[in-house]
């Protein structure tokens, strides 16, 4: 059976046609996957087994150890010359300390003089095994343009309502320029909450501390003793039994970045890096 040239062409086109359809179908549904970055040298398997906690006395009698087992490398292991404790002895939990920022790139696009621009991100902290935490913020670089010829200054808030890196105050005027942030939500510093009570929601701002001038990071969220699920009924005639059960709770706040420039601001695209540091208590 010999095929004519035309028949061969048609069958060849059919094959191409089927291939294209297959490619289109595959292309529509295929997810994009990142490359597997596992080490080739070895694999460490570390199962996270919750086997409870205990109190143990140390032979030296100078100290008493209390441990919480169940975390990775948790509990106490003792050998000749060292003792290690992992986790908080008063919280029996394997929930890890987790920190989240909903948006890491705050894009103000093109700035126009005396036209404030804002953008927000949600900061979340889950502290199941930490019990207490602090989140700080600091500007790692000044808010410079790329040519280095201009800097957007830190805000000083509205005239007669001056703010500092640790004291929030009113910034509502369109003629007030600079770069700053507002916090709304849980576990806020008292300057934000008291200012908000006075001036309303989303009106109070602070400038970021600046690492380049040796400022220290400033606390933007903090909480202590928030993990324990304890009934708040401490009437002196009743002794409630605290459960001490840890809760996997997430505390959230919204940070709103605000920038406004004067008409004398040098042209160009500006950028800065804000470092948010979350640490559990000690």
């Amino acid at each position: 059976m010999r095929k004519t040239i035309n028949e061969l062409r048609v069958s060849g086109l059919r094959v191409i046609f089927l291939c294209l359809i297959t490619l289109v179908i595959i292309g529509l549904g295929a997810p994009v996957r990142a490359q597997d970055m596992n080490s080739r040298e070895y694999t460490i398997q570390a199962p996270n087994v919750n086997i409870g906690g205990s109190n143990r006395s140390q032979g030296t009698a100078n100290y008493k150890l209390s441990t919480t087992l169940g975390q990775l490398a948790a509990g106490e292991f003792q050998s000749n010359g060292y003792i290690v404790k992992a986790g908080f002895q008063y919280i029996d939990s394997i929930i890890p300390f987790t920190f989240s920022i909903s948006k890491t790139n705050i894009d103000f696009q093109t700035l126009v003089a005396y036209t404030p621009k804002t953008d927000s991100a949600v900061i979340s902290v889950s502290f199941g095994s930490a019990g207490q935490y602090t989140v700080t913020a600091i500007s790692e670089t000044p808010f410079n343009n790329f040519s280095g010829s201009g800097t957007i200054a830190a805000t000083a808030c509205d005239p007669s309502y001056s703010c500092t890196t640790s004291t929030a105050n009113l910034w509502s005027s369109d003629t007030t320029t600079g770069f700053g942030y507002n916090m709304e939500g849980q576990d806020l510093p008292t300057d934000f909450t008291s200012c908000e009570a006075l001036h309303g929601v989303n009106q109070c701002y602070r400038p970021f501390p600046d690492r380049s001038v040796s400022n220290n990071p400033e606390i933007i969220m903090t909480s202590t003793n928030v993990t324990l699920n304890i009934t708040p009924t401490p009437n002196p005639t009743v002794i409630p039994n605290p459960t001490g059960t840890p809760r996997d709770i997430v505390h959230q706040s919204t940070i709103t970045f605000k920038v406004n420039i004067p008409d004398t601001q040098a042209g160009g695209n500006y950028g800065t890096v804000i470092n948010f540091v979350a640490t559990p208590g000690y």
Partner: protein, 342 residues
């Protein structure tokens, strides 16, 4: 030939449809989100000079892929709460390295979504290390996203930490010296009378208690014990002190449970949200109350004792009763007068 033309036409149409699908259909674009978790959140070790230990940390990326690097930095307590100041550079005698074959401290590595990495942190104490406490934080820091072309942007870098408390001792004995620096209630009124300070509260007041422990030794201490409230009529309540670390040469506000909690998010101006306290008492108090605490820092350590008193007077109740009596008297007088007038 006619068949071939048909096939070519169908092919072209299909290619056009597929191209349009990709070009026209808007795809969902999410902002770059970063979520990291690190455990354990705290590491405490007592170690001899010349020894070395390895501790496994679990680092997990719960959001978009990120490039991170792990570092160790010393820290010091910032105030008497739980705030710390992380130093910008690594100093001190303790040496830190990662035992992972493919990871090193201070070097960036990729962490894809939902990836778990175990960081095997080796802590080495040189033989000539002086006996003392050394405080560090293992930090994992993300690389900020790239600058957007043609825009003014603020890019966020995220850092998550876990504290490491190292006590170096050659003999195993540690220097435990602590004292109660402050043990007082925050009353409505404080009156000085007969050479004594009297704390006066209303019976229905919420009464904050501030207890501060000062560590005057060279090593970390962990106060434990209880706070007892005793009333004039034999009533008694006890509150457990949460055993938290007080670092060497520093102070820390204790916390005790159970305590009244205030919703500071919805009541931001509440005075209890403005200052830190160890315990908030609530209830109906009448008469003189004695608050005392007995603390120790572990077995074979001396007990520390402190006490304070407050007097609860039902001002509001008395005022309400007074007003009622006054109104009643007025009504009685008026009714008497009305009866007397013919």
């Amino acid at each position: 030939m006619e068949n071939m033309n048909k096939v070519i036409k169908i092919l072209v149409a299909l290619i056009l449809v597929a191209t349009n699908y990709y070009l026209i259909t808007p795809s969902l674009v999410n902002a770059q989100q970063t979520t990291l978790s690190l455990s354990p959140p705290l590491l405490e070790t007592i170690i001899k000079p010349g020894k070395s230990i390895v501790v496994g940390y679990r680092l997990e990326n719960l959001a978009d892929p990120v490039i991170v690097k792990a570092m160790v930095r010393p820290f010091r307590p910032q105030d008497n709460t739980n705030a710390i100041t992380i130093q910008p550079t690594l100093t001190g005698p303790i040496a830190f390295t990662l035992d992972n074959a493919d990871l090193q401290l201070e070097e960036a590595f990729f962490l894809r979504t939902k990836e778990n990495r175990q960081l095997l942190l080796r802590l080495t104490v040189p033989t000539d290390t002086p006996e003392s406490d050394y405080y560090y934080t293992l930090i994992v820091q993300t690389q900020p996203p790239p600058q957007t072309e043609g825009s003014t942007t603020s890019r966020s870098q995220m850092t998550i930490g876990s504290n490491i408390l190292v006590t170096v001792t050659a003999t195993g004995s540690v220097d435990i010296k602590g004292k109660i620096a402050l043990f007082t209630v925050v009353p409505r009124y404080r009156i000085s009378l007969l050479g004594k300070n009297w704390n006066i509260v209303d019976s229905q007041d919420r009464i904050p208690l501030i207890a501060v422990v000062q560590n005057i030794g060279k090593n970390v201490i962990k106060p434990q014990g209880e706070i007892i409230l005793r009333g004039n009529f034999g009533e008694k309540a006890s509150y457990d002190v949460t055993p938290k670390n007080v670092l060497a040469q520093s102070q820390r506000i204790l916390s005790a449970t159970p305590t009244l909690t205030v919703d500071c998010q919805n009541q931001p101006t509440d005075p209890l949200c403005q200052t830190a306290s160890s315990l908030v008492l609530a209830g109906f108090f009448v008469g003189q109350y004695n608050l005392s605490t007995t603390l120790n820092f572990g077995e074979s350590t001396p007990n520390l004792y402190a006490a304070t008193t407050f007097i609860a007077v039902p001002f509001r109740l008395l005022l309400a009763v007074g007003v009622v009596i006054l109104i009643s008297l007025v009504i009685i007088r008026r009714s008497k007068k009305e009866k007397q007038t013919p």
